[in-house]
Amino acid sequence: MNILECKNLTKSYKKNVPVLSDFNISIPAGRIVGLLGPNGCGKSTLMKLISGLLQADSGEISVGGNPVGENSKALISYLPERTYFNSSMKVNEIIEYFETFYADFDSQKAYRLLADLAIDPKANLKSLSKGTKEKVQLILVMSRNAKLYLLDEPIAGVDPAAREYILSTIVSNYNPDATIIITTHLITDVEQVLDDFVFLTFGGKIILSGNAEEARNENGKSLDELFKEVFRC
């Protein structure tokens, strides 16, 4: 069964300049999918549309058989590019907040992951560094037993050690029956964890997609090399 289906999806911010145009994709459950493409190709817009932050101009999105709305949002765990905390809250208060609104949130897992990083649950969010806030956000997102994880540029702008931590947290904490969609242009770092990949170009056109392992074997190249070949300027 497909966890995500997008049919004829179109979204423009300005008239006649579609970010996504007639976009179609079906993603089955239990996969880690890399949504790869250059900056501005519509990756984040697609994530926002699926998570319900934006409304499509036309087309349909279905998450676990639900149109975008209250039910689909309950299935999605979304990690945006930005930190979205109310900085007047403490770490344990934001954990309580997640526990209140998400039935699938595992607070014990969250506290365990915080302890691994020696983050004080009683710390004020505004006292944390940007990097620590991002880690707390990742912990919250991965502490849900969601059906679909949307991770928008989770490793952009962080140092290599943090990248490693982020990727290992993602891989070792997600619900195995769930699907993860990761958008990034840092392909080398995520390549090893991907089951499938989608190369997206401007206008939201899919120019190449498939199984990551098969693509590597068929082309004798890594996804990163393949990406550079496809998107060569």
């Binding site: 911010y13 926002k48 998570s51 319900g52 932050l53 934006l54 409304q55 709305g69 209250e70 039910n71 949002k73 309950a74 999605i76 979304y78 945006p80 930005r82 930190t83 979205y84 905390f85 109310n86 007047s88 907040y97 209140t100 609104f101 998400y102």
Partner: protein, 275 residues
């Protein structure tokens, strides 16, 4: 889910509000002392009058600041929660958009109601402390009998209708004012890339000017005829006519609230674009 949202919204608004509320109570006690100085029959030193005047000014300004602070807490919560990066969490919660909006409205109405109660309490404290010596045993009972008893004697059963209508008008007017500002903030957040708060103030100023102008025009053209019409009403019809006029006000503000709510919901649903 609505209850949970209200709980968090109200908690966020009240987080610092209570400090302002407590300060206003302290100021009202100080204000009470000022009243007692001014009302004193004894000859007091000049400097005491000067200090009392200054304290009274601070107390009055403090009470005004308290109301303004409540407004700031409510609207900054709305803006931050919806239109800053916090919106990424708010709008991905598994709740309906209408519930998000309703919780903000209910929490702000609760905060406004609570603020009004605290201000009434502040004034009562100031009067009680200031005029304690002069208040006789049945003072409040007499005042109540004079004011309320008079209205009931004059209007009979219509007093109850007036009370309900006034309450409804106050609630609807507060709701209308809140929605009006919410809409201005939302419009500014949609149209402006930067300086959204300044844009929101600009949008509010323009929208408020237009609304006030339309209302003033209405009064200008209708006041005379309505006034004459009211003057000619037979005495036995005065009560139902006043009740009807207030009902018209209720319907007017109800309609305005409906329009603003629909506009606000539509903007959140269709036009929201977090950067």
């Amino acid at each position: 889910m609505l209850k949970k949202l209200i709980k968090y919204d109200f908690r966020a608004v009240i987080k610092y509000w209570w400090i302002a509320a407590l300060s206003s109570v302290v100021l009202s006690i100080a204000g009470g002392w000022c009243i007692s100085v001014f009302a004193s029959e004894k000859e007091l030193p000049e400097v005491l009058y000067l200090v009392a005047t200054l304290v009274a000014i601070v107390a009055v300004l403090g009470l005004c600041a308290f109301s303004v602070l409540t407004i700031v807490f409510v609207y900054s919560r709305f803006y931050k929660n919806f239109f800053t990066d916090e919106g990424y969490l708010t709008f991905t919660l598994p709740v309906k958009r209408s519930q998000l909006l309703n919780s903000k409205l209910i929490a702000s109405m609760m905060a406004s109601g609570l603020t009004s109660l605290v201000i009434i309490l502040d004034v009562a404290i100031a009067i009680f402390i200031g005029l304690n010596k002069y208040i006789e045993k049945d003072f409040f009972k007499e005042i109540w009998d004079e004011l309320v008893g008079e209205v009931i004697r004059e209007t009979g059963f219509y007093a109850v209708i007036y009370l309900v209508e006034i309450l409804l008008l106050v609630i609807l007017f507060t709701l209308f004012s809140t929605l009006f500002v919410f809409c201005c903030i939302t419009i500014a957040s949609i149209i402006a890339k930067k300086a959204k708060i300044i844009t929101a103030i600009g949008v509010y100023y323009v929208a408020n000017s237009v609304f006030t102008f339309v209302l003033q025009m209405f009064w200008l053209f209708c006041f005379d005829s309505i006034g004459n019409w009211l003057y000619d009403i037979p005495k036995n019809l005065t009560c139902p006519v006043y009740a009807l006029i207030m009902l018209t006000g209720i319907l007017f503000f109800g309609m305005c609230c409906g329009i603003l709510y629909s506009l606000q919901y539509w903007m959140l649903d269709r036009k929201l674009n977090l950067s």
